[in-house]
C-alpha cells in the first residue's frame, strides 16, 4: 500500500470507531442500553494505527474501553452492537455486554473489565505463537492506569526474557476513572519497560500515521523473533470515564485543549494538504452509514434468551 492508501485506510478506521462510539452513546442516552459504556472518543488513532499493522491471524486483547480496538481489528460492528443490546447475535450471545467482545476470526481474544487483566491472555497468545511457530504477534492494549497493576511488571519481564512476539500498547489518556496519571504512576511507563530490557517508545497517540509506523516496526521486530516492544501512546480521553460521568474532577479548558488535538481532523488536514481532501467526506459518510446500519440491524435482533444462560459455560 502506498503511504496515501495507508493514511486513507487509517482515516476510514478512525471514522468508523468514532461513529461506533457516538452511536453507542446515543443509544445509551436514549435508554436503549443497560449497564455502563466506556468510550474511546479521541483515542481513535491508537486503535487504528496499531490494529491496521496487524493481520487477522494476529491477536489482540483489550479492555473496558475496547470498542475502537475491536472495530479496527476487524470485529463486526453489528455483532458488537448486538452484544451491547444484550441480543442473541452478539459476540457473547448477548450475555456479557460491551466489555466482552471476543472473535477468533478477527483475532480478538477478548476484552476484560478487569484493569490490568489483559496482559495474561496476550502474553499467552504470544507464547502460543512462539511454540507453534505461527509467526503471529499478540498486542495487549491497556491504559496508563492499568500500569499500576503488578500484572504489567510480570508480563514485561516474561515477554522480555522469552523474547515473545508481543507488543504492549499503552494508551496514556491521562486519566484512570477520576484520577490523573500524576497521582497514579511514578516514573514513565516506557522507562519502566526499558528497564526490563524491552524496546520502548513514546508516541504521539493522536497521530495515526506515527502510531502506525511505530506499530509496523514493533510488529516486524516481534515477527523476527527480536522480542517485545512497549509503545506508550500519549492521547486524551474526550468523554467521561463512562457515559454520564459528571466529570467534576477535570477542567473544561483542559478537555477543550484535549479535543483540539482531534486525531481525525489532524489526519484529515494532512490528507487534504496532500490533495486527498475530496475523498474524506465520502469516507466519513460511508463509515457513518456502515455503523448506523450495523446498529439498526443489531437493534432488530432477538434478545438473548435465558435458555442460553447455561450454554457455553463448559465445552464438551
Amino acid at each position: 500500500m502506498s503511504n496515501t492508501d495507508t493514511a486513507l485506510e487509517l482515516y476510514r478506521l478512525m471514522c468508523e470507531i468514532r461513529a461506533f462510539e457516538e452511536e453507542g452513546e446515543r443509544l445509551l442516552r436514549a435508554g436503549r442500553l443497560a449497564g455502563n459504556l466506556h468510550l474511546s472518543l479521541g483515542q481513535e488513532a491508537v486503535a487504528a494505527g496499531v490494529c491496521s499493522a496487524l493481520a487477522a491471524t494476529d491477536h489482540i486483547t483489550t479492555t473496558h474501553r475496547g470498542h475502537g480496538h475491536c472495530v479496527a481489528k476487524g470485529g463486526d460492528p453489528e455483532r458488537m452492537f448486538a452484544e451491547l443490546f444484550g441480543h442473541a447475535d452478539g459476540y457473547s450471545k448477548g450475555r456479557a455486554g460491551s466489555m466482552h467482545i471476543a472473535d477468533p476470526d478477527s483475532g480478538i481474544l477478548g476484552a476484560t473489565a478487569i484493569v490490568g487483566g489483559s496482559f495474561g491472555m496476550a502474553i499467552g497468545a504470544a507464547f502460543g505463537a512462539q511454540v507453534l511457530g505461527t509467526g503471529a504477534v499478540a498486542v495487549a492494549f491497556f491504559g496508563e492506569g492499568a500500569s499500576a497493576e503488578g500484572t504489567l511488571h510480570e508480563a514485561l519481564n516474561l515477554a522480555a526474557l522469552w523474547k515473545l512476539p508481543m507488543v504492549f500498547c499503552c494508551e496514556n489518556n491521562q486519566y484512570a476513572e477520576m484520577t490523573h496519571v500524576r497521582e497514579h504512576i511514578s516514573g514513565s511507563i516506557r522507562a519502566i519497560a526499558a528497564a526490563h530490557d524491552l524496546a520502548a517508545e513514546e508516541i504521539d497517540g493522536n497521530d495515526a500515521v506515527a502510531v502506525r509506523e511505530a506499530a509496523d516496526a514493533a510488529v516486524a521486530r516481534a515477527r523476527a523473533g527480536e522480542g517485545p516492544t512497549l509503545l506508550e501512546c500519549m492521547t486524551y480521553r474526550w468523554s467521561g470515564h463512562y457515559v454520564g460521568d459528571p466529570e467534576s474532577y477535570r477542567d473544561p479548558e483542559e478537555v477543550a485543549a484535549g479535543k483540539a488535538a482531534d486525531p481525525i481532523a489532524l489526519l484529515g488536514e494532512r490528507l487534504a494538504a496532500g490533495g486527498e481532501g475530496e475523498r474524506l467526506e465520502e469516507i466519513r459518510e460511508a463509515a457513518n452509514r456502515r455503523i448506523a446500519e450495523a446498529a439498526d440491524r443489531a437493534a432488530g435482533g432477538q434478545p438473548a434468551s435465558p435458555d442460553l444462560l447455561l450454554a457455553d459455560v463448559y465445552a464438551s
Binding site: G35, G86, R95, G97, I114, G145, A146, E177, M178
Partner: protein
C-alpha cells in the same frame, strides 16, 4: 430515627468513626477528591484531608498490604476494593497475610482493618463485576465477614467493623445502594456475629443476607397472604456465623430455605444447610432448600439477570414446597 440511603449510611459511618478516632484512615481508588466511584466517600477528603483520605493507584494487592501493615503499626485502615470480584487480585495479601498475622505472631500483632467492597449483583455489571464471593472469605480463619441488607445495619456494622481488632471484609450491595431505611439518630453499633430476625414466623425459616434479604422479606409477605408464616433470618455476618439464631429458628419452624445471589455449588447456602442438617436434623420436617443463582458467569442484560438471580417468586415457591412436604418419618 432518620431516613438514610444505604450509601449515605456507609458514608456517615466512616465520617463518624474518622471524627471519633484519628487513627482511622481511608484508602482506595478514587476515594479521595472524587469522593469514590459510587460516592460512598463523598466529603471525607475535604473534611479529613489528604493524609487520612488517599486516592491510590490501581494496585489492589498492595492496597490490602498497605491496610495490613498500616493497621499493625497503629492505624485503623479502611481500604476500599472497588468490587468484590477484585478480591481475586488481592487474595494473597488478605488470606495469606492479613488473616494470619495475629495467629502467626503468637497474638503479638493485631490487624484492625476493614476491607470495604461492593457486590455488583443485579445491576448489569456483568461477569467480572457481579460475582458473589462471600463464601471464599467466610472460609478463611482470621477474617470476619459482614454484609448489611439495609441502611441501619450498614451504618452500625461498619462502625463496629472499624472498631473491631480483626480484619473485617465489609460487603456492600450495589442493588441496595439507593434504598432507604430508618437509621437511629444516636450512635449505634451493630454487633458483628449477630443475625437479625426482621420477621418472625412459625412455619418456615428463610435465611438470607445482603442483597437477597429484601427478596426474602417480600417472599415472606407474599407467603403470609397464602397462609404461610415465614420467619426471615438476615445473617448480617457470615463470619462469625450466628449459629444459635439459625438453629433456634429451625428448631421452631422445622423448615429451612436459604436464599443467596451466589451460585449454588460450594456457596454460602451449603454451610447453612449443612449446619442445620447436622444440628437440627431431628427438628427438620422437610428437605432443606437452596434458592440461588444459576451456575454460570453473571450475565449482563436485564432479562438474563431476571432469569439468573433468585427472585421473590422462587423463594415463595421453595417455601410452599417445603411447607407442603409431609414429614416423611
Amino acid at each position: 430515627m432518620k431516613e438514610l440511603k444505604y450509601w449515605r449510611a456507609i458514608n456517615e459511618a466512616m465520617a463518624e468513626e474518622m471524627e471519633r478516632d484519628e487513627s482511622v484512615v481511608l484508602i482506595g481508588e478514587d476515594v479521595g477528591r472524587p469522593g469514590g466511584p459510587y460516592i460512598a466517600t463523598k466529603g471525607l477528603y475535604d473534611r479529613f484531608g489528604p493524609t487520612r483520605v488517599r486516592d491510590t493507584p490501581i494496585s489492589e494487592s498492595t492496597l490490602i498490604g498497605l491496610a495490613t501493615g498500616g493497621s499493625m503499626v497503629g492505624l485503623r485502615v479502611i481500604v476500599e476494593i472497588m468490587f468484590l470480584d477484585f478480591l481475586t487480585l488481592a487474595a494473597d495479601q488478605l488470606v495469606n497475610h492479613a488473616a494470619k498475622v495475629r495467629s502467626v505472631s503468637g497474638g503479638a500483632f493485631e490487624v484492625p482493618m476493614v476491607m470495604r467492597t461492593m457486590c455488583g449483583a443485579g445491576k448489569n455489571t456483568g461477569p467480572q463485576h457481579g460475582q458473589s464471593l462471600e463464601s471464599w472469605v467466610a472460609h478463611i480463619p482470621g477474617l470476619k465477614v459482614v454484609w448489611p441488607s439495609n441502611p441501619a445495619d450498614a451504618k452500625g456494622l461498619l462502625k463496629a467493623a472499624v472498631r473491631d481488632p480483626n480484619p473485617v471484609v465489609f460487603i456492600e450491595s450495589l442493588q441496595l445502594w439507593a434504598s432507604r431505611g430508618e437509621v437511629p439518630e444516636e450512635e449505634t453499633l451493630v454487633p458483628i456475629g449477630a443475625a437479625a430476625v426482621p420477621r418472625e414466623g412459625g412455619d418456615v425459616t428463610i435465611v438470607s443476607w445482603g442483597g437477597a434479604t429484601p427478596r426474602a422479606l417480600e417472599a415472606a409477605e407474599a407467603l403470609d397472604s397464602r397462609g404461610v408464616d415465614a420467619e426471615v433470618v438476615d445473617l448480617r455476618s457470615l463470619a462469625p456465623l450466628d449459629e444459635e439464631t439459625i438453629l433456634g429458628s429451625v428448631a421452631k419452624t422445622g423448615r429451612l430455605v436459604v436464599v443467596h445471589d451466589a451460585v449454588r455449588p460450594f456457596g454460602g447456602g451449603a454451610e447453612i444447610a449443612a449446619l442445620v442438617a447436622e444440628r437440627r436434623f431431628d427438628h427438620l420436617k422437610a428437605p432443606v432448600r437452596r434458592v440461588t443463582s444459576q451456575f454460570a458467569p453473571v450475565p449482563f442484560p436485564p432479562q438474563l439477570e431476571d432469569a439468573y438471580y433468585p427472585g421473590t417468586n422462587d423463594v415463595v415457591d421453595a417455601c410452599l414446597a417445603s411447607v407442603g412436604e409431609a414429614a416423611a418419618r
